[in-house]
Symmetry: C2
Subunit: 309 residues, 2 copies
Amino acid sequence: MVATDGRPAPNQQSSTFNLKSYLEAQQAQVEAALEQSLPQAYPDKIYEAMRYSLLAGGKRLRPILCLATCELAGGTAAMAMPTACALEMIHTMSLIHDDLPAMDNDDYRRGKLTNHKVYGEDIAILAGDGLLAYAFEWVASKTQDVPAQQVLQVISHLGRAVGAAGLVGGQVVDLESEGKNDITLETLNYIHTHKTGALLKACVVSGAILAGAAEDERQRLSRYAENIGLAFQIVDDILDITATQEELGKTAGKDLQAQKATYPSIWGLEESKVQAQQLVAAAKGELATFGEKAQPLLALADFITARTS
Amino acid sequence: MVATDGRPAPNQQSSTFNLKSYLEAQQAQVEAALEQSLPQAYPDKIYEAMRYSLLAGGKRLRPILCLATCELAGGTAAMAMPTACALEMIHTMSLIHDDLPAMDNDDYRRGKLTNHKVYGEDIAILAGDGLLAYAFEWVASKTQDVPAQQVLQVISHLGRAVGAAGLVGGQVVDLESEGKNDITLETLNYIHTHKTGALLKACVVSGAILAGAAEDERQRLSRYAENIGLAFQIVDDILDITATQEELGKTAGKDLQAQKATYPSIWGLEESKVQAQQLVAAAKGELATFGEKAQPLLALADFITARTS
């Protein structure tokens, strides 16, 4: 693959791009913005609970995807930072509620006790609600230098990504599929394109909208996001089998215990790895026309299949 | 009290205003808009659960307050309808989550089984999340004929009203106060100005913002909302003692059972009624300068203290 201006294709160049230092710099920016977004306040307990999970570390992949896409499409990191933080607030909400006893009943997350194990179920439910509401407030009130109409489009996308047409819908089908032995690939794809994929896609699409990207660019970036979203989940399924609890920072082998259908359970482990790599290659293909500017998103696509936690 | 143009003051006129037919007409409009906002879709179970609680009837006081304020301030009902529906979605979310076993553990709401009793705790948590996310999506994507900047302001207000600085914060302090005998009036006021008051205020303020009301009008309407919000809660406390389960459509006497501090427990029943009436009078006073246009909001203020369910 050669870029249209005759330079080497970006995915050949990406080896020279230092992803590690890029991620460290972006993570530091995101951490600082998250910390500032949610200062401790009265009532103490709810802010502590929200901060406990929001500031628990993690790769900050979603905010970084949003920032990187906005910059790729001609915007600035500052334009996208409120949305980047909102995406992490939404993601954190979904983790807190997903870990509840009535849902996945997990005790550990990112190597720490889950929210309800520390603060109780009632506060954990409310902390999730608070983070979800705050995400929309934050985007609406803090986004600067972006036309208001585009900010509304971002809010609409975020809402759709997290609601019954997105993340929540994926979780419902996931819950319904538990313990069933006859889950089809179609159902498994539905679960993951909604439960994980919708929010990852919203990260990329919202970054593009904030930058004012043209429709064809937005669609290309959207397909990039769909591909890495599915690859991300396949890798997650693989890691659940191959990684230890220490590496994951959460309970390992949960899928097997819960008899959940996974890509490895349908395709086997090796074929799952191949499929993930093919999706990453397809994702990178969508970025060919962006040239060097695409280096962060190209490297992020590789990072997703290479990650060990 | 006489209006500045010499006409009889609006709260004297309000006896000629037919609140019953006004409420019936507005409720019918809101019901139709809510029904259209959330059609049944795949995954069936989550849409059923969301629709079960959203379309369970009720007074639709919040949407009607929003529509009435928007019209009072020079806007149209159509401009405010998406926000009016969103307010009911948010309110419904708070009821679903509030009824959960980890929270108030209620079996009945509006005379029907609570969401988690019908669909299970996991689906009830997700139905609440889905409604909350959808509320913001709905306002952002469906509001028409309002400048985008004002729609963003509304979204910011809604987020703040439901989050830790609003409804969620009020619920947390309420949970912390349960079973305590030494709750101060200050704490009780905090609970209710946040748990119930913040969203009622958001109904009125968002209606005013959508109509493009001037700052002084917005502040007057905001004070009207604060006063009726607190009156509403005092009446709610009174009803919990005096009404039967059949009248309430939910479990009666819950506050006493839970040893919750209430206005009647601090002031006694009679003084609570007097305080509620004084708040309603103050609320109506804020509307004096609006003339005849204020009739719906004046009548709604009366309705709030007169309601039996």
